[in-house]
Every structure is written in structure tokens, then in C-alpha cells.
């Protein structure tokens, strides 16, 4: 075995040192009756064979489609330098930096990542990462419940449906009560939201841009939320923050989101990156690892994991969260991605997404029978109404070489003819034109 260095001689010597006569003896604590009833695993295969087998599987996935599917998970370009950095084994074969002196690289990188998240969201403190955007939002909701001692949560239905269902799953055995408020003309419905707001409300959860792509300015809602002593939680798409009002600017208390767009491959759903930031007053209820700066005995700056008394390995059942392993390597991708783009680059990226998406709106609105929904501004994703079920159209468009969008009917009853179209910077003018032409052809 190439990954087990033990020679027969090694084994003999080690057994002798231990004072047993066979390796089996080391397993004597396992009662014979508990031996495996079966262990029917195929024999091992060589690196070449396994590599070939998996290349063949990879070839069974369709990667030739021009992609206009988003729904919270976007096909952005990943600079090669991001891959180069995260493939440093000193990063990816290390673990949580429990021992700071031999982990300063990781600790500093996370400290920088936390700074980036704070800057992007306009809030004070951030943690070292959570699993994904959905669990991050759930953790934020639970933070609000703990902080306010209340258990009612108002959630805009513009929040990504995937997240909403996750929240319901997680809280199904807890005494947390959700009020879901439908959107009005694509955006958050002030009227409906405020109607439900009361002094039992722990938090109001809003998303920007929302699941339908609509951009909003939630400042007015947040003000009302605060009047009731509740917390305002924002679910955001980080690339949009190169352009859109930040949660901090809008007054939110907590921001969470999916960091996949920041240099992380789509990879069939994971690993992704849940990020979270908050006002500093909420720090002690934050879940997850947090890195802080300090000094060594010579007064030199250094970094450590800090505020660990919030965490499971110290506080056990009283911890703010059960999270242990997080998504550090994805966080590293994010901070390197943002560092490569810089201030200008992130703004430019956002602008490009906006511009190309607007162009696509124009192009699609020229297709007979297609109505582009324009009741609210959008960022890089928008909704179109088709003259027939979107499911069918999507199916036909695959044969034209397009994953042309996500059919909303899969998630929303009554929206069978709606298609959600995402346009990132990767899509070219030609591709967008061809999308429109092909759509015309299949309708």
C-alpha cells in the first residue's frame, strides 16, 4: 500500500516492542461476536485505474452547456492564482490552527478573511466561516432568538427558497415560529412585513438581491424592525456588494450569505462557504471560530483563535453552535479572490454582471412571447415569463447547448411559466444573443 509505509520487518519489530504476537491481538477488545457480518468491498485498484474510472464518470456530466442557471449559486470565473494558493499543502493539509505558533499563516489569512467580510457587509465582526449560506442564515436566526429571548421570526419569501426550507428543517423541533411574507412586485412587501412585526419578534430576515433577482433598499424596513427591539438579518450575495448598498449601510444587525461566488467552484453543490458578520455588540453570541490579533511575549503581533468559550469544545451543550470543522479552505479562496480583484476589481465585477444581465434582459425581451419582469431593478439575475411551461423550454434548450435558467415552477406553485435567468461576467455578448435566438427557435 502506497499510503502505509509498514514493511513486514517494521510490523514484526513494532509488535515485539508492544509485546504482542500479531496485529490481531491489538483488536482483542472487540468481542468476537462483534466482528463484521460482512465487509464486501471490491479489491483495491491502482491510481491509474481509479483515475481513469473517475475521468470516465466526469465525462458523463454535461459541462458543455452555456450556463444561465444561478438561483444563488453562480458561474463566475476563478482566477488561476486562487487555485495556486489553495493548492499549497501547507494550507490544505493543515487543520484548525489550535497551536498558533506553528499556524500563523492560517491565522493571519483568516483574520484577513474576517476583515474582508466585515468590509463587504459593512459590519463590525465576522467569524472564520460556516458551512454554507443556508446554515449561516439558520445560525443567524438562532443568534437572534438567543439575543432577544424571543422566538418569532419573520421571513421574506424573497429569501432563497433553499435556505428557507433548511431553516424550517433545523427548527422543526425547536419552539421557533416563522412568519413567511410574500413579495410584492418582486420586492419585499413593506405592508405585509410591518403587519407581522411585534414585540415577540426576534428577527426579520430579508434577502438582497432576492431569490427572483430583485434589488431592494431595506433601510426603511430595518428602522421599523429596530423599533420593536428585533434584529434585522440580511442574506446577501457577496458579488453584488461590489455595487449594492451593504447590510451595514442599510442598518442590518447581522449579515450572512453564500461565499461560493468568491472564487469557489460550483462543484455540484459543495464545498461552499457560509459567511457571517454582525454588529460588535452581538459578538458573544456568534457561532464558529474567530481569530483575533494579539502579541507574543516580545510584543510582536500574532494571531490566535479567540473567544473559544463560545464554542463546543469548551462549552459543550451550552455552546453557541455545534460547529467544529468549518470551510476554512473556501474562506481562503474568498480572501485570495478578493485580494486579486481589489477594490476596483470587485466594483468592476459587480458592474459587469449588472451590465450583461441588463443586456440579456433586452435581448430576451425582443423574443416573441417572452416577457421580462421589470417591476423592480435587478442585479445579475431576473425573471422572465414564457408562453409555455419553463420546464419544457429548459428541456429543449439543453439540446441547443444551453442551461438557460431555472424554472421557478419547481419551487413555486403557479409559476410554471416563469424562468429565472442568471447572467455572470463569463457570458459573452455572442452567447447572450445566441440564447435569445435559440429561445425564439424553441418557443
Amino acid at each position: 500500500m502506497n499510503y502505509i509505509p509498514h514493511t513486514d520487518k517494521d510490523i514484526k519489530e513494532m509488535l515485539a516492542a508492544i509485546g504482542v504476537s500479531s496485529v490481531e491481538d491489538l483488536f482483542n477488545d472487540i468481542p468476537v461476536a462483534l466482528g463484521p457480518k460482512s465487509f464486501d468491498i471490491a479489491p483495491g485498484r491502482s491510481e491509474f485505474e481509479v483515475t481513469q474510472a473517475l475521468k470516465n464518470l466526469a465525462a458523463k456530466n454535461a459541462t458543455h452547456l452555456t450556463n444561465f442557471v444561478g438561483a444563488g449559486f453562480y458561474d463566475h470565473f476563478i482566477p488561476a492564482a486562487v487555485d495556486a494558493v489553495v493548492s499549497r499543502p501547507e494550507f490544505y493539509t493543515a487543520y484548525t490552527p489550535y497551536q498558533p505558533e506553528c499556524s500563523q499563516g492560517w491565522l493571519q489569512a483568516i483574520y484577513e478573511y474576517q476583515t474582508v467580510i466585515c468590509e463587504l457587509t459593512g459590519l463590525d465582526v465576522a467569524n472564520a466561516s460556516l458551512y454554507d449560506g443556508g446554515t449561516a442564515l439558520y445560525e443567524a436566526a438562532m443568534m437572534a432568538v438567543r439575543l432577544t429571548g424571543r422566538n418569532k421570526i419573520i421571513m421574506d419569501s424573497g429569501v432563497n427558497l433553499i435556505y428557507r426550507t433548511m431553516l424550517y428543517t433545523y427548527t422543526s423541533n425547536l419552539s421557533v415560529e416563522f412568519m413567511e411574507v410574500p413579495v410584492a412586485h418582486g420586492q419585499s412587501s413593506r405592508q405585509e412585513l410591518l403587519k407581522h412585526l411585534d414585540d415577540k419578534t426576534a428577527a426579520v430576515i430579508l434577502q438582497n438581491p432576492n431569490f427572483f433577482g430583485a434589488v431592494d433598499d431595506h433601510s426603511d424596513i430595518v428602522k421599523e424592525v429596530h423599533k420593536f427591539g428585533a434584529l434585522a438579518i440580511a442574506s446577501v450575495y457577496p458579488v453584488s456588494l461590489g455595487m449594492l448598498k451593504s447590510p451595514g449601510e442599510a442598518g442590518f444587525d447581522i449579515a450572512t450569505g453564500e461565499g461560493q461566488s468568491l472564487g469557489i467552484p460550483l462543484s455540484f453543490g459543495g464545498p461552499y462557504l457560509g459567511f457571517m458578520s454582525a454588529r460588535k455588540e452581538l459578538l458573544r453570541q456568534m457561532p464558529g471560530r474567530i481569530v483575533g490579533a494579539t502579541v507574543d511575549i516580545d510584543g510582536k503581533r500574532g494571531f490566535v483563535l479567540t473567544l473559544q468559550t463560545r464554542e463546543q469544545h469548551i462549552r459543550r451543550e451550552k455552546a453557541t453552535s455545534n460547529i467544529c470543522s468549518n470551510e476554512a479552505l473556501c474562506a481562503l479562496r474568498a480572501v485570495v479572490f478578493v485580494a486579486l480583484l481589489g477594490r476596483e476589481g470587485l466594483r468592476e465585477l459587480a458592474e459587469l454582471n449588472y451590465q450583461k444581465s441588463e443586456f440579456a434582459k433586452d435581448a430576451l425581451s425582443r423574443v416573441a412571447g417572452v416577457e421580462v419582469k421589470r417591476s423592480s431593478p435587478t442585479f445579475n439575475e431576473f425573471t422572465v415569463l414564457l408562453p409555455r411551461p419553463a420546464d419544457e423550454v429548459v428541456y429543449r434548450m439543453v439540446n441547443k447547448g444551453f442551461a438557460c435558467g431555472f424554472p421557478l415552477g419547481r419551487f413555486y406553485k403557479g409559476m410554471e411559466n416563469y424562468l429565472l435567468v442568471a447572467v455572470t461576467e463569463k457570458r459573452t455578448v455572442e452567447e447572450i444573443r445566441k440564447l435569445a435566438d435559440s429561445l425564439e427557435a424553441v418557443l
Binding site: A17, N173, E327, Q355
Partner: protein, 482 residues
């Protein structure tokens, strides 16, 4: 090193985009736009690459150092799995593709990976079915606790407690609590096992489940585990198996055969996927037949024609616990690893892991207090209590090890052991590496007697000396300020 922000220079760019090439759109209304200018760093590509490359060089890692961090199974991550995960046919697939109509056929490769991994894990653990969705071990625990709750609810009961021994990993009680359970903690007996008296007493009709780690965090296999499981089952409770330590038992015992109802596995430990500096991990959960109906959706199923599909129509499901199908990139590497090792390789891994741990145990037990002097499984736990008499604590031992190029064992965990030093060498380390580590540990024991100051001042060879953790917690400085 300076922070990336301290290297910022307005006007630099490490990455550029092509011009949009589209007619300028009507600008977005100013009220939606951000007014501030986030203080991100602007640097050239070289600056960024050099910064993070040099940062990486400040870390210890498996590829550069022996890393016997107990409970974490820091085994070597074979390079070919990285190559496979990098294939665009895997990394470039949008997770919603198979949810488009007819889209299942667009992701047959990835669906097959998920399905085949489930089947392999089921056989390895003796469980009936697996969900690959949990995104780490603790997430698997939470999923498991929710499955347990759904099971009891389905039977019309709302059981309140989960029984957990005090030697368990912190995530166990935390996960149970987060799922809505109260935790009953059982002490460890002087022999190193869960106290059976106390256990018996705690078990009642309000017990939803018993969560055990096996081998436990002391590295010990409890020979009475079947008895414990049977007792729980008699009381109508389910048995939860924290399988983070499964590396010791591959092909040696299966939680399913012992009678466990829920199992989580850490792919990033047992199945050699890299730890990524803290993550991503993957914590698939396996269940006995009575829990299958509650598993999260979607499930990956195989059709009679051999193709794969997603199944959402499971009315007893707990629902959605991850955005999609789990940490696919991690699962893929674990799958490749299992195919590579096969039956013999997996058994050999367990055997060599246990052999290595026992070798360390025996070679060091004359120099450090062995907490429970018996054959261990994948790790052995010492206490530095003998050294404490000379004022040398586990932390001092750890810091001196760092200066010698070794990542320290896990220290101060499990909490029930004073001054714990938890050594998990894993099977991928050679006798030569163990021998020199053991030599250093023995040297440390000697220094603790003869020259404790040498240990207290360590580390001296790292970029920083010992850091002031109290200051970090008292005056939180959690981000760079412009």
C-alpha cells in the same frame, strides 16, 4: 508578516476583466447603490501570490510535518484525489442541473459518485442507508439528532434526553442541544469506560438516544458496547454512533452489526480527504432500516435501467439539511480513496493505525502517565501530570515539540483527563517517524526533570513566541482597521 491590507496601494490590480462589450445599461438607481468604498486591498497578482505563499510557509501541515493531533486523524491525503477533484467535469457542474427537467441525465457522473459512495459506506459500517448531505462531522450529528427526533415523533413520542458520556467530543452534547434535546452526562469510570451504574439509572422512557463515540476519545473500544446498545433499545431509545474514530475499526467491527441506529463518519478523517486548515469536511450519516424514511431529501436513487435520479417524494423526511447533495468535492475524494484502497487496503489502514498508536503508547509509557494502561485503538492518551510536578504542563510539551518540527498532539482534550496529551499517529506514518518523535518526547520528559525552563520558553524557532491569548479574548481585535 504585514497584513494584505497593509500592502494595499490604490490603483493596483491583481486581476482584470474584459470590457463588457454591451451597450451601457441604464444605471441602477443611486438609492440601491453602496456609498462607501470598502477597504479592500489592491495589489498585483505577484503581490497576492507572494503574500499567501509566504503565509502558507508559516504553517505546519501533514505534507511537511508529523501531525499526531489526536481525534483528528491527520493521515496523508493521496495526491491523486486532488487531481480527480480538479477535473472540470466534476468541479464545473452546477448543482441545479439535475433538477432541471430531464436534467438528471446531465449529471449522471456526479450522481453515480454519490450513490456509489453511499453504498460503500453502508457496507463499511453495516448500516442500511446513508445521506451524504451533512457538511461536517458535527453537522452529521445534528442531522442524526433530527432523524432521531423525527423517529420518535413519528411514533408519537417526544423524548427529551440524550445520554452522552463525559468523554465525548464537544460536538456531541452541542449537537444534541441544538437539535432540541437536554443532555444527560454520564461519568467515565476509573477503568476508562462509561459508568454502567449511572448509565442504567439515566436510561428511561424519556431517553431519545444514547450517543457514543467508538473507539472513544480515550482511544478505547468498550467491550460492553453491545450491552449498552441493547439496554438503550430495550428502553426504546436509539443508539447514535460518533464515527469520527472509525479509522481504527475498518473491517474489524461495524456499528450496524453492534446495533447502532445512526452513524456519522468524518470523510476528512477516516477517508483521507484533506483537512483544509479547518475544513471543508464531510459528515455522511448512515441509519438502520427504521430510520431510512426520515433521511433528508433529495435522495439519490438508481433506476432499473442503471441510471441515477433524485428522489424528493419521501413524506417522512426531515427535509433539507444542506443546499444540495453535500460537500461533493470532498465526497469525490473519499470515493476515489476507497476505490484505491479496496477491502484489503482499508483493513490494512486500520491495522497500521492501531499498531502505530500502540507502539507510541508502549514506548512512551515509561516517561508519561498513561491514562488507562491497556491496548488502545487508533490513539493513545497520556497525562502530563508527572511533568506538572516540575511545573511543566501539557502546553509546554506542545510548544517544545513545535520547535522540534512536530505538530503537537491534541492537548487538554478529552477534558476528563488532566493535562491530556492525545497522540494519534495514523497509519500513514513510518516507524522511523514515530521513533524520532518518541525520541523527542523522551527528551522532553528528561528536560522536564532537568531543565524545565527550556520547555517553558519554547517555541523559539517560530515566527512568533508564545502568544497572549488572554489579551486576545479580553480586548478582541478581530479585523484590520483602516
Amino acid at each position: 508578516m504585514r497584513l494584505i491590507f497593509e500592502k494595499h496601494k490604490e490603483g493596483r490590480r491583481g486581476f482584470s476583466y474584459a470590457k463588457p462589450g454591451v451597450p451601457a445599461a441604464r444605471p441602477l438607481d443611486a438609492r440601491y447603490r453602496r456609498k462607501d468604498n470598502p477597504h479592500l486591498a489592491s495589489l498585483s497578482e505577484l503581490d497576492v501570490v507572494r503574500h499567501y505563499t509566504n503565509l502558507s510557509r508559516l504553517n505546519f501541515s501533514v505534507d511537511t510535518n508529523f501531525y499526531p493531533l489526536g481525534s483528528c486523524t491527520m493521515k496523508y491525503n493521496p495526491k491523486f484525489t486532488e487531481r480527480i477533484a480538479g477535473l472540470e467535469g466534476f468541479s464545473g457542474v452546477h448543482p441545479l442541473l439535475p433538477q432541471l427537467s430531464g436534467g438528471g441525465m446531465l449529471a449522471q457522473g456526479s450522481l453515480e459518485v454519490l450513490h456509489a459512495t453511499e453504498r460503500l459506506l453502508a457496507e463499511i459500517t453495516g448500516m442500511c442507508a446513508f445521506t451524504m448531505q451533512p457538511l461536517a462531522g458535527a453537522h452529521g450529528e445534528l442531522t442524526g439528532a433530527m432523524l432521531i427526533a423525527a423517529y420518535h415523533k413519528d411514533r408519537g413520542a417526544r423524548r427529551k434526553y440524550v445520554i452522552i458520556p463525559d468523554s465525548s467530543h464537544g460536538t456531541n452534547p452541542a449537537s444534541a442541544a441544538i437539535a432540541g434535546y437536554e443532555v444527560k452526562v454520564i461519568k467515565t469510570s476509573p477503568e476508562g469506560y462509561m459508568d454502567m451504574q449511572e448509565y442504567k439509572k439515566s436510561l428511561d422512557k424519556d431517553t431519545a438516544a444514547v450517543m457514543l463515540t467508538c473507539p472513544d476519545t480515550l482511544g478505547i473500544f468498550n467491550p460492553r458496547i453491545k450491552e449498552i446498545a441493547d439496554m438503550a433499545h430495550e428502553a426504546g431509545a436509539l443508539m447514535y454512533y460518533d464515527g469520527a474514530n472509525l479509522n481504527a475499526l475498518l473491517g474489524k467491527a461495524r456499528p450496524g452489526d453492534i446495533g447502532f441506529d445512526v452513524v456519522h463518519i468524518n470523510l476528512h478523517k477516516t477517508f483521507a480527504t484533506p483537512h483544509g486548515g479547518g475544513g471543508p469536511g464531510s459528515g455522511p450519516v448512515g441509519v438502520s432500516d427504521r430510520l431510512v424514511d426520515f433521511l433528508p431529501i433529495p435522495r439519490v436513487t438508481q433506476r432499473t435501467d442503471g441510471t441515477y435520479a433524485l428522489d424528493y417524494h419521501r413524506h417522512k423526511t426531515v427535509g433539507y439539511i444542506a443546499p444540495f447533495y453535500g460537500n461533493f468535492g470532498v465526497i469525490l475524494k473519499a470515493y476515489a480513496y476507497m476505490l484505491r484502497l479496496g477491502k484489503e487496503g482499508l483493513i490494512e489502514a486500520a491495522e497500521a493505525a492501531v499498531l502505530n498508536a500502540n507502539y507510541c503508547r508502549v514506548k512512551l509509557k515509561g516517561h508519561y502517565d498513561l491514562v488507562f494502561d491497556k491496548t488502545c485503538m487508533h490513539e493513545c492518551v497520556f497525562s502530563a501530570s508527572r511533568q506538572v510536578k516540575n511545573g511543566v504542563h501539557a502546553i509546554d510539551i506542545a510548544k517544545y515539540l513545535i520547535d522540534q518540527g512536530y505538530h503537537p498532539p491534541t492537548v487538554y482534550f478529552p477534558l476528563i483527563v488532566k493535562e491530556a496529551l492525545m497522540i494519534e499517529p495514523t497509519e500513514t506514518e513510518s516507524k522511523e517517524t514515530l521513533d524520532s518523535f518518541i525520541g523527542t518526547m523522551i527528551e522532553i520528559a528528561r528536560l522536564a526533570e532537568e531543565d524545565p525552563a527550556r520547555l517553558k520558553e519554547a517555541p523559539l524557532r517560530m515566527p512568533v513566541k508564545r502568544l497572549d491569548e488572554t489579551k486576545a479574548a479580553r480586548e478582541p481585535n478581530l479585523r484590520w482597521q483602516p
